[in-house]
């Protein structure tokens, strides 16, 4: 794959999309208008209407003998217009009251009946006829009940005074209420829905335009006549659609932030919309935008015309809208299981973020699982773009897309490595959720490592027809490589120390939570026998995760022909496996070293040894009373890094990858 060609395709599609006024209007115009209208408009309209309901006189009908004091008290307690007065209650009061209410002549009917009280005097039995189903009835009913309560209390106090008692005796309970319900809460419940809809709408037209639109206009066929590879085409188009979905999300967030800052002074009720919150919300939207773009691209290319593209993508739009509704559903919380369900998880996460209730850990689960779905979606789109029948006609696509390619040989590719990552990531998260309460922690770790990372890696490579020895680098390092590994052992420990010091100094969000989680894990492992702790925390990850990331991922991404893509890609995916954002950063940095060492020595043993040292040190330190000096001192940590740097220098010429054409022979497609 040539990045320069992908970039050329991306720039061409972007230029075309930006010249489409409809797309620009959706991307820029709607957000700029939507949020000010939403915040100001709805507040103004709702506020004005509600104010009117409170200020207008209550229109009431009064039936039965009404004492003068009642009318006086009611006039004092509320603004009342007695639309109808009758001295007697009609024979069918319900029917007549309903007629009055339906004709909207009155908002309520009061039927009064005197009830003698033992020992003299009279109480009033008040029958209220209302229709609370009417939109404005809530306010009117509330006003009336409050006025009647007030009149009742006033009357009791007057009677107590007449009897020579303190009127305060009439109020034995002094209830004061503090309501934390805030007028801004609705924003945290409603905004995720709006943002997700805006995100998918922003990519809707560009996705159709670059797929079905290009087919309809005949430009896709022109492109296919040029020397471009399907993966280059799909990545260029994916870049454009992702840019629009992300741009849409960014525009919506920006407009929202501006609207809130300008109108509500930075916060609406409980919802603190600070820059930090907006950044976190945007970060949560990134993997979703990537997922939605991949889905739209995959579906859009099946269509043969723009109109057909709209028909195909509309159900997808509805699906996103239904899933996005999760944030509005009362009682639906972001559980670990729901954190794995695409779209629903992001919707709930946004609500939590806006309410400032989310932990970095759950953020990490949602982020990485959505990213895994996005990778799977992109690979599906890439697979569809490889189908000439889909690109040229759109007929009989599914057999063409999902039909197994015939021909023996090596099908292992960067795409299949990425799909492996998506599968094991979701599987490991799911296993964690399902097994957490059924197995002890060491059991969960062992099952994840052996049952998912290692077993799936072996099956994946076997099925792809690749050489297991080659993919897993199953060979001993050379003498130079072995020396480098020995030098990297203190280097890895030093790197641990440096990373710990950097974290302390910078303290990014989630650091404390991460430290707490690690402490819990290490304390738990300290309770196990040492052999068990080393087996599940050090040996199993050293073997299984190395097979996965320095085996499948590193070898798969090496087939792009780029050493940088291989090392950085395998390190990033290794980092993402660790879910918690702070852990992701640390693991990604360690993964860079492990990847470079494995590539340089051409032996998985390098990664296994260094990974073991890294994890085993944590197990051992947890059992020591005082932590080792390099975890406390910059100088010692840096000094330990020196041999590691020498080792990397030793490996500098060794870390190479095979040319892509040689590494990934393309099998002939199936003959129909």
């Amino acid at each position: 794959m040539r990045w320069s060609i992908t970039s050329t395709l991306f720039r061409k599609d972007l230029r075309e999309a930006l010249r489409d006024r409809r797309t620009l209007a959706l991307l820029v115009g709607v957000p700029l208008l939507l949020y000010p209208l939403l915040l100001v408009g709805s507040a103004m309209v709702t506020g004005a209407a509600t104010q009117q309901l409170w200020e207008r006189p209550l229109k009431l009908a009064l039936w039965g003998p009404a004492p003068a004091w009642l009318l006086e008290e009611m006039d004092e307690a509320e603004l009342v217009e007695w639309v109808e007065r009758r001295d007697t209650i009609p024979e069918a009061p319900g029917r007549e009251a309903l007629a009055l209410l339906e004709e909207r002549q009155v908002q309520a009917v009061l039927a009064l009946k005197g009830v003698p009280v033992e020992g003299g005097g009279e109480n009033l039995d008040v029958e209220l006829y209302v229709d609370t189903g009417r939109p404005e009835a809530g306010v009117a009913h509330g006003r009336l009940r409050r006025a009647l309560d007030q009149v009742g209390q006033h009357t009791v106090r007057a009677r107590f005074t007449q009897l020579g008692l303190s009127p305060e005796l009439a109020e034995p309970l002094q209830v004061k209420q503090t309501d934390f319900r805030s007028p801004g809460t609705w924003l945290a419940w409603g905004l995720p829905y709006l943002l997700l809809c805006a995100l998918v709408m922003s990519g809707f037209y560009p996705a159709i335009d670059v797929t079905a639109g290009e087919k309809e206009r005949g430009t896709l066929q022109t492109l296919l006549c040029a020397p471009v590879r399907p993966l280059e085409v799909v990545l260029g188009k994916y870049g454009v659609v992702s840019l629009f979905t992300l741009g849409g999300a960014l525009m919506n967030l920006g407009a929202l932030g501006l609207a809130i800052a300008a109108i509500a002074g930075g916060a609406v009720g409980q919802v603190q919309v600070s820059m930090g919150v907006l950044v976190a919300v945007f970060a949560a939207l990134v993997p979703l935008a990537l997922l939605v773009s991949a889905m739209m691209l995959a579906v859009g290319v099946m269509a043969r015309s723009f109109k057909e593209g709209q028909n195909y993508l509309t159900p997808l739009l509805l699906l996103v809208m239904v899933a996005a509704y999760a944030a509005i559903v009362p009682g639906l919380e972001l559980t670990p299981t729901l954190a794995l369900v695409p779209i629903v998880n992001v919707s709930l996460l946004l609500r939590e973020l806006l309410m400032a209730k989310v932990s970095a850990g759950i953020f990490g689960v949602v982020f990485t699982s959505t990213l895994a779905w996005a990778v799977a979606g992109l690979l599906l789109a890439a697979r569809i773009f490889e189908s000439e029948q889909v690109l040229l006609s759109g007929e009989k696509p599914w057999r063409d897309v999902f039909g197994r390619k015939v021909g023996r040989g090596d099908h292992f590719s960067p795409g299949s490595a990425l799909l492996y990552f998506a599968v094991v990531l979701v599987a490991s998260l799911l296993a964690g959720v399902l097994l957490w309460k059924r197995l002890p922690l060491w059991g969960v770790l062992a099952v994840s490592q052996v049952g998912i990372f290692l077993a799936v890696a072996v099956l994946w490579v076997k099925r792809s027809g690749a050489d297991m020895r080659e993919v897993f680098s199953l060979r001993l390092p050379t003498g130079r490589g072995a020396l480098a590994v020995v030098l990297l052992v203190p280097g890895v420990l030093g790197l641990q120390g440096v990373l710990g010091r950097v974290l302390e100094a910078v303290s990014p969000p989630g650091t404390e939570e991460f430290a707490r989680l690690m402490e819990l894990l290490m304390k738990e492992s300290a309770r196990w026998p040492l052999a068990l702790a080393l087996a599940v925390v050090a040996v199993a990850p050293a073997v299984c995760e190395e097979a996965a990331f320095r085996g499948v991922m590193l070898s798969g991404l090496s087939r792009t022909g780029s050493r940088t893509v291989a090392v950085v890609g395998s390190a990033l995916t290794f980092g993402l496996l660790h879910i918690h954002p702070v852990h992701v950063l640390i693991a990604a940095v360690v993964g860079l070293v492990l990847g470079y060492a494995t590539l340089g020595t051409r032996s998985l043993l390098a990664g296994v040894v260094l990974h073991f040292v890294n994890n085993a040190s944590g197990v051992l330190w947890a059992r020591m009373e005082t932590p080792p000096v390099w975890t406390q001192s910059w100088q010692v940590a840096l000094a330990l890094c020196v041999p590691g740097v020498v080792a990397l220098w030793l490996l500098r010429g060794e870390a190479t990858v095979p040319a892509p054409e040689q590494a990934a022979p393309v099998p002939l497609p199936e003959a129909d």
């Binding site: 320069s4 061409k12 022109t222 020397p227 471009v228 000439e388 002939l668 003959a671």
Partner: protein
Amino acid sequence: MLEARGLTKHYGDFTAVREVSFTVAAGEVVGLLGPNGAGKTTLLRMLAGVLTPSGGEGLVDGASTAADAFRVKQRLGFLSGDTALSQRLSPREVLTFFGQLHELEPAHLERRTEELISRFEMGPFADKPCGTLSAGQKQRANVARAFLHDPPALILDEPTTALDVLSGRFLLDALRAARDAGKAILFSTHVMGEVDYLCDRVVLLHQGQALDQGPIPEVCARAGVRTLTEAFLHYLPSRST
């Protein structure tokens, strides 16, 4: 230079093209003739590396469509009634884009673009969006796109469809000039006059099979008729049922 070796394409049970073989030498124009549905477009797409053959192979300047369609596309200019240009890009932008896809060196690409704009008299509309151009102007830009990387072989699938007489003649003259410059050209059309004007040899295709091929006088002689149209009609009625 350009060769079909037993090219075959199946769509499920339907055979669109069956074991078609022919060659086009450098400096030669071969006309591919056949009624609608004869399999011309499928055949040309296979030769262009856009469709994968079910059997046989195409060769373009030594590159095989079966083994390396990518190299085939580098050595070929392809133009058909279906290959349109981006409506929101100008002809100059289209040429630059395809030049970049062919990895032409920037200075060379710029020179080549200007040369083609001048040669195909595209100056007045070179910077207008293709969506605003007439059919003739669009086809000039499209021909320029096919010629851009100076390929040794050209495949043109009914390129004069929807063109007026002047634009059609302009295109045919451009192809004659290309032939004189040593290009191998495979040209499909329904218009017999164009074949007489341009082609050195013809291949008659019907229901996916090559019925006859050779220089026009020889094809006419074998059919026992005087004109190519008569030869075309001679072969078709007896086989179309």
